[in-house]
Amino acid sequence: MMTDKPACTASELLAVMSARLLNDGQIVFAGVGIPLLAVTLAQRLHAPSLTIMFEGGVIGPFIEPGKLPPSTNEQRCTRKANMVLPITDVLLLLQRGYIDIGFMGGAQIDRYGNLNSSFIGDPDKPKIRLPGTGGGNDISSLANMIVAMKHEKRRFVAEVDFVTSPGFLTGGTSRIDAGLVTGGMFRVVTDLALIGFDSESRQMSVLALHEGVTREQVLDNTGFDLAFDDTLAVTAPPSSDELAVLRELDPEQLYTA
């Protein structure tokens, strides 16, 4: 490893790469963990008028360095917020269409961007009962999505055990046919690559690899045959600036260990 390239954890890489996808002026509905960290990072770096929404009922907060909330339902989430409102009403903003991007993590994802955070194994007799959807189902049903997650074979599966949060379902027009006429997967950010979705088949397609990552490495860590874009790019590595701000935000590595 070269000394002028700052070393970073996989979580830090996720946060930086996700933050770059966010534009100034956008309204981003963010989950706790990496999403929360990434939107705050974007806000501090290049998107000062980006607005964060939390499902706990928060509009436009500015999270304080070192005081990251352990959920989106605590007072720390409301720090310097423009408005707090009931949970149901903040979620209804998704349905009304005020949100640009929904942004969350994922436990398991398939080629169509369907996310599972409910069951490992048969839902009727699960090997593991996971915590469930929270706002995930609503966010992914009603908004354009960015998902940030670690790139592991057990997480990138051919078919999820259960669709907690809908991506493009079975591809093609199936999402719209099911009644979800808006939103859908926009990007998946992993510690190996930046992934988009084919506009017809709605299957994942790698848009860019992170520096030093090979196609083989990606495929080895994916449980299905993942396509690569014709114009496959390489992302710029996290800058010292990006990492410095990130580490200032999460000095105890609550989310980025």
Partner: protein, 323 residues
């Protein structure tokens, strides 16, 4: 017996509401008296969300009184959900997410009970929980929504919902059945003796569950005079006539947070997580014994946390108002 999660016939809902004493009367009582208003088998909606404004003192009282077969619903459940399952008070939860909190990983207590089939965990989307309570609060039998379609979450709850093609727009919609909980238990920062409650900061789904429920039990950090409520009536969030009991319980959410008053007791939450991760069954049993069964009063319970932790949580809690 009717299923408390099914849409309540409108005439029944009206009759139950009309039968309640809705006059401007004092209803201050002890935790124990209030807990006695909850019956075995009731659907109890829990105020707050995750580790925020959880009515922990009321849960403490319900567990101590050995209530059974409660159906517990909440926007998001945390370690209070573990304790309801582990104590045997409930074996049926209705929520959108259930674990102690994302930083503590998947709840092993929830897993133990749900994976073994001892407990039922009905998973609805977060907004669907809110809209079900809201329909109940509005006195309508359902609320239409554009969420929960196409997903497993929608599929597993399909027998309880209806699909509809909108007669105005042709849109596909899901109709979510109204929830009218038998009891709502809610913790607030301030309430008067009649039950007028003011909630600072995050409101969660508390207003809707109060309006929807057949009984409401309020615990409050501070009991204030009605005259104080009347000075800022636009800050009242729950009106007195929905409320059946008011109990003054300082630190009534500990070790969870109460907005502007105290943040979570993180060390104690970590300790709990360690204890139940090591052994979900025995760990939860030990925790219940130490904090719930062996504490005769709420003050005894708070003494388990200690003054240093209370001061620290309070200092952090109040800091939200600092510039």
């Amino acid at each position: 017996m009717t299923d408390p999660l099914q849409v309540k016939p409108y005439l029944d809902l009206r009759a139950e509401t009309q039968a309640r004493d809705r006059g401007l009367k004092e209803k201050v009582m002890s935790l124990e008296e209030a807990a006695a208003l909850v019956c075995d088998g009731d659907h109890v909606a829990i105020g707050g969300s995750t580790i925020s404004r959880t009515p922990m003192a009321m849960i403490w009282a319900l567990i101590r009184q050995g209530r059974r077969k409660l159906i517990a619903s909440r926007s998001i459940m945390s370690h209070e959900g573990d304790l309801l399952l582990a104590s045997g008070v409930s074996s049926h939860v209705v929520t959108s997410w259930f674990s102690q909190g994302i930083v503590w990983g998947v709840s092993k207590v929830m897993r133990l009970h749900v994976e073994s089939g001892k407990a039922r965990f009905d998973e609805w989307s977060h907004m669907s929980m809110g809209l079900r309570y809201r329909a109940g609060a509005m006195g309508i039998p359902f609320m239409p929504t554009r969420s929960m379609m196409g997903s497993g979450v929608g599929e597993r709850t399909r027998s309880e919902t209806h699909e509809m093609t909108c007669p105005f727009s042709g849109d596909q919609l899901v109709l979510l059945p109204a929830l009218n909980p038998d009891v709502a238990i809610i913790h607030v920062q301030r309430a008067d003796a009649y039950g007028n409650a003011q909630i600072d900061g995050l409101q969660f789904m508390d207003i809707d569950i109060a309006m929807a429920a057949t009984k409401v039990i309020l615990t409050t950090e501070r009991l204030i005079d009605n005259a104080q409520i009347r000075r800022t009536p636009d800050r009242t969030r729950i009106p007195f006539f929905t409320v059946d009991a008011v109990v003054e319980v300082p630190f009534g959410c500990a070790p969870h947070e109460c907005y502007g008053t105290y943040e979570p007791f993180f060390d104690q939450m970590d300790d709990y997580a360690k204890q139940v991760s090591a052994d979900p069954e025995q760990g939860a049993a030990n925790y219940l014994k130490e904090y719930f069964y062996d504490t005769a009063t709420w003050q005894d319970y708070l003494e388990k946390f200690g003054i240093a932790a209370m001061l620290d949580a309070s200092r952090r809690g109040r800091s939200i108002y600092d510039d």
